[in-house]
């Protein structure tokens, strides 16, 4: 078998490529799944978002809608009601777009009215200064915390803390800048200005309702229970008997996570399926080479049989050769796959993970391919008649 190293190497190539690509794809699939999950949870974990019903389908920066069915009292009720046991934090929010100017520059951005709890629930931290406090909210102060993109637009590289911005014509003092979260598919979380909730409602926009209430469940296990508890409480408060007529909707982060998982999962499975097909092609290549090898070694087989080899001895001999071929190819493919997923994850900035389960599977599969595609040539060898085989030229 070491006879013709080039031929052996080429035969192995199919297996190397097949195993390598399966391992690389599964690893990258897992990495992207982890990356998506991380991105989603970086905005807050175990979150339920309650929206007034006419805003169904719109996300965080929902535009001005006519629905006014959620109130601060609703949020307070959720936080204090004895019937709601699986909720840890409640954050009432009012958001709307507005024109903002500072110095000579201006921008149009999202203004979100929040309470202090918002930063805990949505994992917002400050890079400079401080976040909105409950004191700011109680006194309806005109203070603002800017997101990094707004800072860039209005102040460039200068630290804006202490400066003044005008929101819808009103002057606000900048008290903090948030840490960048990076853009997600759900709107740029850095292109916002946080103001106290009461200030947003009463001073800026003249609203009495909320645009959303974010509720954090105590753990991912109780998210569904929390969703039910909050839903029933609100139905009761709003005096609505049937859930079908609810004037609000609850959106669970679990749903996005599950959808994202299943999308990346399906994608990964599809690509891996294609890679698996290349494994079959590789196996056929192995069978081809083994058949050629059997033909070339016809005299040797005849000799071994003349010296006492039984059919099972010949089968074992060639099957083992075939398994070694695919096994070595599998191990090499494993290294190729790991290298490939390392390189690609660096290029598209994904975390680099090694799926150990898939490695074990790949090694096992490569051995199985050796058996499967080596069987026919081995049997052919074993069935050679010694007399004719010895005469073979």
């Amino acid at each position: 078998m070491g006879v013709n190293k080039l031929r052996t190497g080429l035969a192995m190539l199919g297996i190397i490529i097949g195993i390598g690509s399966v391992i690389a794809l599964v690893s990258l699939g897992q990495s992207s799944q982890a990356a998506v999950t991380n991105q989603i949870e970086s905005l807050g974990a175990n979150l339920l978002t309650i929206s007034p019903s006419s805003q169904r389908g719109e996300f965080i920066q929902g535009g001005a809608g006519s629905a006014t069915t959620l109130t601060l009292e609703d949020a307070q009720a959720i936080a204090s009601s004895p019937s709601v046991t699986d909720v840890s934090n409640v954050s009432p929010e009012y958001s709307r777009r507005a024109q903002v100017t500072a110095g000579g520059k201006n921008t149009n951005t999202s203004i979100i009215g929040v309470q202090a709890i918002y930063s805990t629930l949505h994992k917002v931290s400050v890079a400079e200064g401080q976040f909105i406090s409950d004191g700011d909210d109680a006194r309806q102060l005109k203070v603002a915390v800017l997101g990094p993109t707004v800072v860039q637009d209005l102040f460039g590289e200068t630290n804006p803390v202490g400066a003044t911005v005008r929101i819808s014509g009103q002057s606000f003092r900048v008290i903090g800048v948030t840490v960048s979260k990076g853009g997600t598919g759900f709107g740029n979380a850095d292109d916002v200005i946080y103001v106290p909730l009461s200030t947003a409602q009463k001073v800026l926009f003249g609203a009495t309702s909320l645009s959303s209430i974010s509720v954090q469940a105590k753990s991912s296990a109780v998210m569904t229970a929390a969703e039910d508890e909050v839903g029933y409480l609100l139905l009761d408060r709003h005096k609505i008997s049937s859930p079908a007529n609810a004037d609000f909707s609850i959106f669970s982060q679990n749903d996005i996570l599950n959808t994202a998982s299943s999308v990346t999962g399906t994608f990964t499975a599809l690509l891996s399926g294609i890679a698996a097909i290349s494994l079959i092609v590789g196996g056929i290549g192995i069978m081809n080479i083994m058949l050629v090898t059997v033909t070339e070694r016809t005299r040797e087989i005849g000799l071994r049989k003349a010296l006492g080899a039984k059919k099972k001895d010949i089968i074992a001999q060639f099957l083992i050769e075939s398994i070694i071929l695919t096994f070595v190819g599998g191990v090499l493919g494993m290294f190729v796959g790991i290298l490939l997923s390392f390189v690609i994850s660096k290029i598209i900035s994904l975390p680099f993970t090694i799926a150990f389960g898939s490695i074990l599977l790949a090694i096992g599969v490569s051995g199985a391919i050796g058996i499967l595609f080596g069987w026919y040539p081995a049997r052919k060898a074993a069935n050679l008649q010694p007399i004719e085989a010895l005469r073979y030229e």
Partner: protein, 231 residues
């Protein structure tokens, strides 16, 4: 220890029926040195295949060491070949790119000889045929005569009942051919039973008994040494 009684071998290829052996009977005792001679197509190769358990007769009995060989299945025939027969072929049939030592060890693979015994045993027989200093050579590094000696060592390694040699000197220059025949005669003196197929009278004369075969039948069976052929 060999009894061949009324053995026939008939090949049916489509419509044509070829009679390779026609009702052949003879016996060979332990310790004999027999040459089987005949022109090509005489059936001597077929007879050798049957004696070597490579083929089975169409009819008749072949009894080796008291055991009927004609009716055995493939695995059982392989056992016989492994333990009771030592083959020496015209074309040597050594595995290429493999040392003489490893070649001699091949039959032991199928006999499940304990691993620690294999090399000493192989070395012993290679020494016996005079190749003690060539044990690691491969066939491309050995002359025809030397390769045949490796083959003889291989044939002896499991102490078979008979050594079956098919035109053993056919591919060897005459000087070395004499060496090979000398080895056979020496082995025969030590008690080995040797059956040799040949078409050369000079070679056949080294045996003690010559069986002449023609058209699938035995036409003469007698002593060697200046035996004259009667056709």
């Amino acid at each position: 220890m060999i009894q061949v009684s009324h053995v026939s071998k008939i090949y049916n290829t489509g419509e044509v029926e070829t009679v390779a052996l026609d009702d052949v009977s003879f016996s060979i005792d332990k310790g004999e040195f027999v040459a089987i001679m005949g022109p090509s197509g005489s059936g001597k190769s077929t007879l050798m295949h049957i004696l070597g358990a490579l083929d089975t007769p169409t009819s008749g009995k072949y009894i080796l060491d008291g055991q009927g060989v004609g009716s055995l299945n493939d695995d059982e025939l392989a056992e016989i070949r492994n333990k009771k027969i030592g083959f020496v072929f015209q074309a040597f049939n050594l595995l290429p790119r493999t040392s003489a030592l490893k070649n001699v060890m091949i039959p032991m693979m199928y006999d499940a000889t304990p691993k620690e015994e294999r090399i000493p045993l192989a070395e012993k027989y290679l020494k016996m045929v005079g190749l003690a200093d060539r044990m690691d050579y491969t066939s491309s590094q050995l002359s025809g005569g030397q390769q045949q000696r490796v083959a003889i060592a291989r044939a002896l390694v499991l102490n078979p009942s008979i050594i079956l040699a098919d035109e053993p000197t056919g591919n060897i220059a005459s000087a070395q051919a004499e060496e090979i025949m000398a080895i056979f005669q020496k082995l025969n003196k030590e008690g080995h039973t040797i059956i040799m197929i040949t078409h050369e009278p000079d070679i056949a004369e080294h045996a003690k008994r010559i069986i002449h075969v023609k058209d699938g039948k035995i036409v003469k069976d007698g002593n060697g040494h200046r035996q004259r052929l009667i056709i």
